[in-house]
Symmetry: C2
Subunit: 110 residues, 2 copies
């Protein structure tokens, strides 16, 4: 149980990154995102996602558009903006650096 907390914390840190990775490839609305993230073992709930999307939108990295649905209320589809794409490039670099860091720490030998 202690482990799950740290496991969760690891995943938290890359949550924004994951969202942007997904939205780069397909417009999605919140239940879409939750499903996709669940498939990737990133368990996330609405209460986390909505504020996060709001922040990313307010930063100019995301936009959205409404789409009618045949089975319920309209859906808010988020998509990545050009600024979001370049932000994503930086996150790619951050991620690579982080991988490199962990690799280094695993092989401290001096």
């Amino acid at each position: 149980m202690e482990n799950e907390k740290t496991n969760a914390q690891m995943r938290k840190g890359v949550l924004e990154y994951c969202i942007l990775l997904i939205l780069k490839q397909r417009k999605s609305y919140v239940p879409d995102l939750i499903d996709l993230l669940k498939q990737s073992k990133m368990v996330v709930v609405e209460g986390t996602l909505y504020p996060l999307l709001m922040r990313l939108k307010n930063s100019g990295y995301l936009g959205y558009e409404w789409q009618e649905s045949t089975s319920g209320p309209p859906r808010k589809y988020y998509f990545i903006t050009p600024e979001g794409e370049s932000f994503l490039l930086e996150l790619d670099a951050s991620w690579r650096e982080l991988e490199e860091t962990i690799h280094q720490l695993k092989t401290l030998n001096n």
Copy 2:
């Protein structure tokens, strides 16, 4: 500047993991840890580290011993316990999963 925040957040999530990776290989006291982490671009300050080490110790993952210093007050050297080692194995698994997750999300194609 926005990037640095997310970059930092990514690194936060694996901070405990990094600490344990280091302590598995050498006993260290706080200024040691800060130096090593700085070399790995994980910028961390005392105010973060002390409470974190306290938590890990209280969870049984770390122990410590005092050592005299020739250049100042005695140092508190932390080391990893057997429980810490097995916790670390779980974190290794979490990290591998996280890498796998990101890899998957980068190649969503359906």
